[in-house]
Symmetry: C2
Subunit: 131 residues, 2 copies
Amino acid sequence: MMDHSTELVSVPVGIAYTPYDAPSDAPHQGFADDAEAEIQIFDEYADALGGIENTIRITVVYWANLADRTEIVSGDGIGAFARRSPNRPNPLSICACTLLEVDSATLRVRGLDAVDGSKVLDIKPALQTER
Amino acid sequence: MMDHSTELVSVPVGIAYTPYDAPSDAPHQGFADDAEAEIQIFDEYADALGGIENTIRITVVYWANLADRTEIVSGDGIGAFARRSPNRPNPLSICACTLLEVDSATLRVRGLDAVDGSKVLDIKPALQTER
């Protein structure tokens, strides 16, 4: 019998500093707002940024800490997997944004829809299809 | 002092069944291969699929179980955050693919680059920019 109770553990690799203090302040998607934000990568992961300065668009994965993980279906009857709301079983948010500047382990970006202080889990160069 | 040792726990919401038995079999990105795959969502999350049948492109987040989480910089000197390799501190893989059919809690998709048996963490409708 398949065990699907397994827990998969992520570690924060950095923190996002954004103008959005609460989920209601954040745009529904990053590209709906041109505000700038910073991502500070922790020292132990700083080397993982090597070469990122050649990238214009990055895909940021962050943990939407304030999400309601029990909301499987929203009030309008739409399931969590059929909408982009942070409320979902695993509060993994994905946002493609523009990389403006790399200063040591700090990234200055435009278009990140995370709430201030969100834990960043991953950064990838955005695929053409994600930009 | 900031505590960044926090562990963030995800739960599998389903399993991906694909033609790729090993990472070396999988295409570098899903769109490089037209093979079909199935995602079986666990019963307790099946309601989260409500409305997804209206979606053509979905973004799948899955756990790349075989990834090397210690590889911060690859052999060619490029950092984990500047490449799409599954080897990264958090093995969270993102793949936009085409939703062909929804049959109860099973999704038939095209273009999923996951290894067979990968644990699925999330599904979102793909943004125009991710398609």
